[in-house]
C-alpha cells in the first residue's frame, strides 16, 4: 500500500498537499518511513504549471489504514507449562550367592531361564512369550497400578537378574508367581504336585529382591520343615532361611534376630512362642505364609486365633485342599487373609465371589496336559485261608458283641471292629499269612528287575515294620512318624540316590504331604485310608512335576471284606462330589466316612443322631 511516485508527483502541483504519511508499524513488514516528496524535475509529468518552481509545502498526517486488528502479529509461541507425575520404585536388595562346594555338581544341572527370542520353534511358541504382572483388582490408586504395569515380564526378571533357576518354570507357574507377586492376600490352592512351593519361593525371592518385603515368616507342619529347607536351597539358594527351633531361649533369640529375611517354623512352636511373648514384643512381618493352611480351618482353634494375631502386611496361604469338609472352612482362611471381617459369616455366593478374587487354583488336567498319566488299578485279592478264617471269626464275634451292646453301642465300638478287620486283611497275626504281601512281592520283583522304585503307603506303622522285615530283598526304607525328624531327610536322599533301594514304606500321616518323590514310578496303597483326598495326596508324592514316566497306582482291596465295603462307600461319595462340581476335581470333597456310614458297614444304625460326625483319625497323626 505504498503511494506510487506518479501519484505523489501529481499531487505536488498544488500549493498545499495533504499526503498521508503511513507509519512503519502500520505495515505488516518493515519499511522505511516516507519522509517528504522531492520534485524530480522542474516540469512535472502532468504538464501543469511549469512556472511553479518552488518546494511545495507538505504536511504529514496520520490516517488510519482501516486494517482489522486480527491481522496484527500479536501471537507469540507460548505453550502451557508441562507438568509431570512421578513414581519412584523401592531400591533392590542384593544377596550374595552362597559359595559352591567343590563336589557340588549342581551347576551342571542348572538350566538358566531362556528368555523367549524372536526365532523360537513352534513348540516354544506354544507358551506365552511374556508373563506381565497385572495390578491386583483392589489396587485403586494410579501409583499402585503403575507399579505393577511397569514391572518387567517375569521371564525377563528371572533371566535378567542373574537368578539361577534349577528348572524353567512351567507357564502355569509363571502365572502363579505373577499372581502371588501382586497379591497382598492370596490363597494358592493348586492341586498337589503343580509346584506351589516353587511358586511361593520364587515370588518371595522377587519381592525380596525388589525391596518390597524384608521379613517373612513361613509356618508349616513340622514334618515339612526339612522339605522346605531343601526347596529353598534348590530355588533360592542365596536367600538366608533360619528355622525357629531349639530351646525357649534360643527360639526367643531367633524371633528377635534382626536382618534375617526368612524365618521358618511349625504351627506348634509358633503358637507356643507367640502366646508366651508379650504383645508389644511380638515380631512384625512383611509377609506371613501358611503352608498346608487347612490347619487353621477351624476359626476358633488356638492355632487359628494366634495365627490371625500375627503382625503382618501381607498374608498368603498354600493348600491343595482349601475345603476338606465344608465350604465354611474357607471363612477361617479368609479371616486370616483379612478379606472378611472377624466373625463374618458369608454365604455361598459371597464365598464364591471372594474365591474368584483371592484364590488361584489349577488342576493337573488343565495346567499339565503334557504330564505323564497316572494309571490306577485296583487289585482285588482273595484272603489267604488263614486270613479268611481269622477274618470270619473276628467279624462274627464283633458283630455279635455290637448287637449285644444294644443302645450302649457307640461309633467308637464299631470303629474298633473296622480297624481290627482291616488289620486282618493286611496279614493274619497268628500265621503272618498275607495275600497282599504275596502280590506285592510279585510286583516288586518285576519293578526291581527293571530298576524301578516304588512307594508303599499304610495306615499303621506296625504294618510298615512288619513289611520291612519281609521285603529285605528289595532293600526297603521305612519313613513314618516313629522315625526321628533328623533321620527322615537322609532316608529320602538314600531312596533317591541308592539304586539298590527299590521301595520306600511310608505312613499316610507322615509321608502323604509335601514330599517330592517323582523319581518313583509305582505307588502301592497297602490299605485304604478313610478319605480319598488323603490317598490322592499320597499318590501325588510321585505323580507330580518332574515325573517323566507313567505312575502306576495299585490299591489292594480284599474281596468280601470290610475293605470292599469301604471302597464302595468312598467310590459313591466321590461320584456324588464329581456330579455336583462336574469338573473332575475331587480333592475338596467331604469324603471321610461319617458315623452313619460306619454303622452302615455292618447294617447297624447310628443311635444318637450324630450322622454327620467325622470319626476318621487325624491325617497328621500316625496310627500306632
Amino acid at each position: 500500500m505504498l503511494p506510487d511516485q506518479d501519484h505523489l508527483q501529481r499531487s505536488a502541483t498544488s500549493d498545499s498537499y495533504n499526503v498521508p504519511c503511513p507509519r512503519a508499524e502500520d505495515f505488516l513488514f518493515d519499511v522505511a518511513p516516507v519522509e517528504c516528496i522531492t520534485p524530480a524535475a522542474e516540469i512535472y509529468s502532468s504538464g501543469i504549471n511549469v512556472a511553479l518552481n518552488r518546494w511545495p509545502s507538505i504536511e504529514c498526517q496520520h490516517v488510519d489504514p482501516g486494517l482489522a486488528a486480527w491481522t496484527m502479529p500479536s501471537w507469540k509461541p507460548g505453550w502451557p507449562k508441562i507438568r509431570t507425575v512421578g513414581l519412584a520404585f523401592p531400591e533392590a536388595i542384593e544377596f550374595l550367592p552362597p559359595e559352591k562346594e567343590k563336589s557340588d555338581d549342581q551347576s551342571e544341572k542348572v538350566r538358566p531361564i531362556k528368555e523367549p527370542s524372536e526365532g523360537e520353534t513352534n513348540a516354544e511358541k506354544k507358551r506365552p512369550k511374556k508373563t506381565r504382572l497385572k495390578p491386583p483388582s483392589d489396587a485403586l490408586s494410579l501409583e499402585d497400578r503403575l507399579f505393577y504395569i511397569l514391572q518387567q515380564p517375569l521371564e525377563t526378571m528371572l533371566a535378567g537378574q542373574e537368578l539361577i533357576m534349577p528348572f524353567e518354570p512351567f507357564p502355569h507357574q509363571y502365572e502363579g508367581i505373577g499372581w502371588l507377586f501382586s497379591q497382598e492376600s492370596a490363597l494358592l490352592a493348586d492341586e498337589m504336585g503343580l509346584g506351589k512351593t516353587m511358586q511361593m519361593i520364587t515370588a518371595v525371592r522377587l519381592l525380596l529382591r525388589g525391596g518390597q518385603i524384608r521379613r517373612i515368616l513361613l509356618i508349616c507342619p513340622k514334618p515339612l520343615i526339612p522339605n522346605w529347607q531343601r526347596e529353598f536351597r534348590a530355588w533360592a539358594e542365596e536367600l538366608p532361611v533360619v528355622t525357629v527351633e531349639g530351646d525357649t531361649a534360643r527360639r526367643n533369640l531367633i524371633w528377635k534376630m534382626p536382618g534375617v529375611p526368612i524365618l521358618m517354623t511349625n504351627y506348634e512352636v509358633m503358637v507356643r512362642d507367640m502366646e508366651a511373648m508379650p504383645e508389644e514384643e511380638r515380631p512384625k512381618f512383611d509377609l506371613v505364609v501358611l503352608d498346608e493352611a487347612q490347619r487353621i480351618k477351624n476359626r476358633d482353634s488356638k492355632t487359628a486365633v494366634v495365627t490371625r494375631d500375627l503382625k503382618r502386611k501381607r498374608s498368603w496361604c498354600l493348600t491343595g485342599t482349601p475345603i476338606e469338609n465344608r465350604p465354611e472352612e474357607l471363612v477361617s482362611l479368609f479371616e486370616f487373609l483379612e478379606v472378611v471381617n472377624a466373625r463374618a459369616t458369608p454365604d455361598l455366593r459371597q464365598l464364591s465371589k471372594l474365591a474368584d478374587k483371592y484364590i488361584l487354583r489349577r488342576t493337573k488336567d488343565i495346567a499339565m496336559k503334557d504330564m505323564p498319566p497316572r494309571l490306577d488299578r485296583d487289585a482285588y485279592l482273595e484272603l489267604s485261608p488263614a486270613q479268611k478264617y481269622a477274618y470270619t471269626v473276628a467279624e462274627k464275634e464283633g458283630v455279635v458283641q455290637l448287637n449285644d451292646m444294644g443302645d450302649q453301642v457307640t461309633v467308637q465300638h464299631v470303629f474298633e471292629l473296622v480297624l481290627r478287620l482291616k488289620q486282618i486283611t493286611n496279614f493274619d497275626p497268628l500265621t503272618n499269612e498275607s495275600s497282599k504281601l504275596d502280590r506285592l512281592v510279585a510286583d516288586m520283583e518285576e519293578i526291581a528287575a527293571s530298576g524301578g522304585k516304588a512307594i508303599l503307603f499304610s495306615q499303621w506303622t506296625k504294618v510298615l515294620d512288619w513289611l520291612g522285615e519281609r521285603l529285605q530283598q528289595f532293600n526297603p526304607l521305612i519313613y513314618h512318624g516313629g522315625v526321628p525328624t533328623k533321620k527322615r531327610e537322609p532316608i529320602l536322599s538314600k531312596f533317591k540316590e541308592d539304586p539298590s533301594k527299590h521301595i520306600l514304606l511310608m505312613s499316610y500321616g507322615t509321608g502323604a504331604v509335601g514330599l517330592n518323590l517323582q523319581f518313583a514310578g509305582y505307588v502301592f496303597l497297602f490299605d485304604r485310608w478313610w478319605n480319598p483326598a488323603v490317598e490322592d495326596q499320597a499318590i501325588n508324592r510321585a505323580h507330580r512335576i518332574g515325573q517323566t514316566s507313567t505312575v502306576i497306582v495299585t490299591r489292594f482291596i480284599c474281596n468280601d471284606t470290610i475293605e470292599e465295603r469301604i471302597d464302595a462307600v468312598l467310590r459313591h461319595k466321590r461320584e456324588i462330589f464329581e456330579s455336583v462340581l462336574g469338573d473332575g476335581d475331587v480333592e475338596d470333597a467331604a469324603r471321610s466316612l461319617t458315623a452313619s456310614e460306619i454303622f452302615g458297614l455292618f447294617d447297624l444304625k447310628a443311635k444318637h443322631g450324630k450322622g454327620t460326625r467325622k470319626i476318621a483319625p487325624k491325617v497328621v497323626e500316625d496310627a500306632a
Binding site: 501471537w75 508441562i82 509431570t84 520404585f89 527370542s117 503403575l146 504395569i149 511397569l150 525377563t156 535378567g160
Partner: protein, 189 residues
C-alpha cells in the same frame, strides 16, 4: 579392574521414553528409567498437551516433533531424579530432543515398521547412525556423530540378548493406563 567394571555396571541407568496420542491430538509423554536388567527405578509421565489451531497452522510439520521433543521430552528429562545415561525412544519425533540435552537420544528402528508416518527417506539411514543394543538396532541423531561410540560403550555392558523394545511397551501401557484412569475419574464441580 574387575571391581571397577562391576561398579560401572551398577551405575548404568537406561531411559525409555515414548509418547502416545490420545483422543483429539493431545499427547502425553512417559519416561521410565531402569537399571541394566530392565528393573524399573523411576517413572515420570506428563500431563496431556494439546496444540491449538494456530499452533497447528504455524508449526506445520514441525508441530509433533516440537511437542514430543522440545516440550514433553525435555520436561521429562528435567524432572526425573535418576538421570539416565542414554534414552531410547520409539518415537522418531523425539530424536529432536537430542539438540536440547546432553544425553544421547536414540530411536528404536523396529518401531518404524509400525509407524506409518515414517517416510521412506527417514528409513534409509546411514550406517554410521545405527547402533545395536541387545537384540535391537537403534538410530542416533544425525548431527551428533559421537553418540554412536558412547552408546556402544554402554551397550557392551548389557546383555546381547536384552530386549530393549519391551520396556518401551511398558511405558506405552503405563501411559494408556494413566489416561484411562484420569479420563474415568469423575470431575469435581
Amino acid at each position: 579392574m574387575a571391581s571397577g567394571s562391576k561398579e560401572g555396571k551398577e551405575q548404568i541407568r537406561l531411559g525409555f521414553m515414548t509418547a502416545v496420542e490420545i483422543g483429539d491430538r493431545s499427547f502425553v509423554g512417559g519416561l521410565l528409567v531402569t537399571d541394566r536388567f530392565g528393573r524399573p527405578l523411576e517413572f515420570q509421565c506428563t500431563t496431556p498437551v494439546k496444540p491449538n489451531r494456530t499452533q497447528e497452522l504455524l508449526y506445520g510439520p514441525t508441530l509433533v516433533p516440537f511437542i514430543l521433543g522440545d516440550l514433553l521430552g525435555k520436561a521429562l528429562l528435567d524432572r526425573v531424579s535418576v538421570k539416565p545415561l542414554l534414552v531410547m525412544t520409539s518415537r522418531i519425533e523425539m530424536l529432536q530432543l537430542r539438540t536440547k540435552v546432553d544425553v544421547p537420544i536414540i530411536y528404536d528402528e523396529a518401531s518404524s515398521e509400525t509407524d506409518s508416518k515414517t517416510t521412506q527417506s527417514e528409513q534409509s539411514v546411514a550406517k554410521e547412525q545405527t547402533v545395536p543394543i541387545g537384540r535391537q538396532t537403534f538410530r542416533t541423531h544425525e548431527d551428533f556423530t559421537d553418540d554412536r561410540s558412547t552408546v556402544e560403550q554402554i551397550s557392551q555392558q548389557l546383555s546381547n540378548d536384552a530386549n530393549m523394545h519391551e520396556p518401551l511397551e511398558r511405558v506405552g501401557d503405563a501411559l494408556r493406563e494413566t489416561m484411562s484412569t484420569v479420563t474415568a475419574r469423575p470431575r469435581v464441580a
